[in-house]
């Protein structure tokens, strides 16, 4: 049984094939990284997995269940949470509030019980709060708990977004460029957290990342794509040494 697998996924926008017949498998408890030049289709693959885009052909299975045609809002309750490249937090709400929204799929109250704020709702809220505090402790966000997102620096927002994904109690997280826009220290912290997510929380990670030192530090396997097609797949070292990948990044060697 494969934990997560994408088989021959393709997507077309008009005449452009943004992702062309890409297949890959992800093992449970591993960190899988997708690399490639700008516009290669990495984020598009994420948007396909989280069902924001409908794919043209192919099949996605997660824990042996077909999730190719799942409605967008149900993906997360299957255990796949994600972050966004350009941070999509709820700007006019506090960090705590954002993290609590991560608990949404575990909130079982109805509209009427919410209107009256029945004791059952209160009990559930306290339980969610406890879970959120675990994540706050894990990511060292205590200091920012009651601050509005719009007042936070970029690096902290990235971490809050990661925290929000963790609050959903996922089996797998999709991290879209977790280290983009972070300074060297913050990137190192992020590497530790990604590693902890795998080792301490046992959550599988698929990420898109440009920072090659971060990629080779944490990844178990790497997939390189360009123009929507697979260039190479293997361990970080294998992929970095692959001539096709070098060609895609640096261009062809001009032999005189």
């Amino acid at each position: 049984m494969t934990f997560f697998s994408a088989k021959g996924i393709s997507i077309e926008f008009g005449g452009i094939r943004a992702v062309d017949n890409v297949s890959f498998d992800v093992d449970k408890g591993s960190i899988y990284t997708i690399v490639g030049p700008n516009g290669a289709g990495k984020t598009t693959i994420f948007n396909i997995i989280s069902r924001i885009y409908n794919l043209t052909s192919g099949k996605i299975t997660f824990e042996d269940q077909d999730i190719t045609h799942l409605p967008t809002h149900q993906v997360v309750s299957r255990g796949i949470a994600r972050t966004f490249q350009n941070i999509e937090l709820f700007d006019h709400a506090t960090v705590l509030h954002n993290l609590l929204i991560g608990r949404h799929i575990h909130c079982k109250s109805g509209l009427l019980s919410d209107l009256f704020f029945l004791p059952s709702v209160k009990r559930m809220e306290l339980e969610h709060r406890r879970r959120v505090e675990d994540v706050i402790d894990f990511l060292d966000l205590q200091h920012y708990r009651d601050q509005l997102i719009q007042n936070l620096p970029y690096g902290v927002r990235k971490i809050v977004e990661l925290g929000r994904a963790l609050c959903t109690d996922p089996k797998m997280v999709l991290l879209d460029e977790p280290a983009s826009g972070l300074n060297v220290d913050e990137t190192e912290d992020m590497a530790f957290w990604i590693d902890d997510i795998k080792k301490l929380l046992g959550i599988t990670v698929i990420m898109v990342e440009h920072n090659m030192s971060l990629v080779s530090q944490v990844s178990d396997r790497v997939l390189a794509i360009n123009y929507g097609k697979v260039l190479a797949e293997g361990s970080p070292r294998e992929v970095q040494e692959n001539p096709e990948v070098i060609k895609a990044y640096l261009g062809e060697e001009d032999v005189r």
């Binding site: 984020t43 999509e88 809220e125």
Partner: protein, 358 residues
């Protein structure tokens, strides 16, 4: 400046966060309860009117302020509530039942109308709600057997358990009780999962959806609740008017309601209340000002709607956070004095959200 030492998660859930809240809101409630003893009947009537506006304002704040669905058609829900109440009263239903049914029917209509609207956002949503309001107005004009058409419909006095509630102070307390219930419902809603989902949808639909929030379902929910509250306001409004005619629920009322939430402060419960006070007092202020203005301005036709528009624009340009935002700034100024800096609330350019998936 007050520092709150938190020792329990319950402190973040409680409605009255600390003793300061208990004291000031308690004082306000006592003042409101004693008002009928101290004030002239005219002022009590006007306060009851403000309560009705506040109920409608809370009803509109839920879609506009919390869910981010701009509605230009909330006069329709007021109308549905008002006519349902008046019709049921004239058919012999008791007051309590007919007000409750007015709210429920308005809520059902709100939920139904949200079904086709749920995929729209922004200006298209606003136009669709505007169309809905015009349709409702036309239905009222033409469905004469129920609404009395252009001839209008008389509204009976509310009767509760055999007691006729014809006095102004009695109506005042009826409005106050409904307002308090609606206020409590709104506060409960925004501290519960449903309210959080509304706010999530407002701030980023794409992100809300990938957090597992079913957008259509919550937009319908938001409109159903809004319909309920606004319908209740409409039912009480019917008693205030005493005689219903379709032109009481025209486009101007929708604009007035929208102005209330924008001027009060979008996305806050205080905003709906402050906006209601503002909109409730504005016609009085205009009436008083008319006496002091030269006749060619004071007697100018359409002065009131014109002023509404000007005020709305001025608030959007200069104080998008509304009256409540102004109050927060003033409070911070007092707390920080003399260290307050004007730049604290300066609007900053935020990070561009490029590549946003629509």
């Amino acid at each position: 400046m007050r520092f709150i030492f938190k020792t329990s998660y319950l402190q973040d859930i409680r409605l009255l966060k600390h003793n300061g809240y208990v004291f000031w809101y308690g004082l306000l409630l006592i003042a409101i309860l004693l008002a009928p003893l101290l004030l002239d009947e005219f002022y009590i009537g006007e306060m009851a009117f403000i309560f009705i506006y506040a109920i409608a304002g809370l009803g509109l704040m839920i879609p506009v302020g919390f869910t981010g669905l701009p509605s230009l058609g909330h006069a329709a829900f007021m109308a549905i509530g008002a006519y349902t109440n008046a019709y049921l009263l004239s058919s012999g239903y008791s007051f309590l039942l007919s007000v409750a049914l007015a709210g429920i029917i308005s809520s059902l209509v709100g939920g139904l109308i949200a079904v086709p609207l749920k995929r729209m956002t922004g200006i298209y949503f606003a136009i669709a709600t505007l169309a809905f309001a015009i349709i409702v107005e036309e239905i009222i004009v033409h469905w004469e057997s129920v609404t009395g058409g252009l001839g209008g419909l008389a509204v009976d006095y509310p009767v509760i358990l055999g007691f006729e509630m014809g006095e102004t102070w009695q109506f005042y307390f009826i409005c106050l009780i409904v307002l308090l219930l609606v206020l409590l419902g709104t506060l409960n809603l925004i501290r519960s999962p449903s309210g959080r989902a509304f706010i999530a949808i407002r701030d980023s639909e794409i992100s809300a959806e990938s957090m597992g929030i079913n957008l259509s379902y919550y937009k319908i929910k938001s409109f159903a609740i809004s319909g309920l509250f606004t319908g209740l306001a409409g039912a009480l409004f019917a008693h205030r008017l005493a005689y219903l005619a379709p032109d009481a629920f025209n486009f101007l009322l929708s604009i007035q309601l929208l102005m209330m939430v924008v001027v009060g402060g979008l996305g806050t419960v205080h905003g709906a209340i402050l906006g209601a006070i503002f909109v409730g007092l504005l016609p009085q202020a205009i009436a008083i000002a008319k006496d002091y203005l030269p006749p060619f301005i004071g007697e100018f036709p359409g002065l009131e709607p014109g002023l509404f528009g000007v005020i709305l624009v001025l608030f959007i340009v200069f104080e998008p956070m509304g009256l409540y935002g102004r109050w927060i700034k003033f409070k911070l100024f007092l707390e920080m004095f003399p260290l307050y800096r004007k730049a604290t609330f300066k609007r900053q350019k935020s990070y561009l959200k490029t590549e946003r998936v629509q």
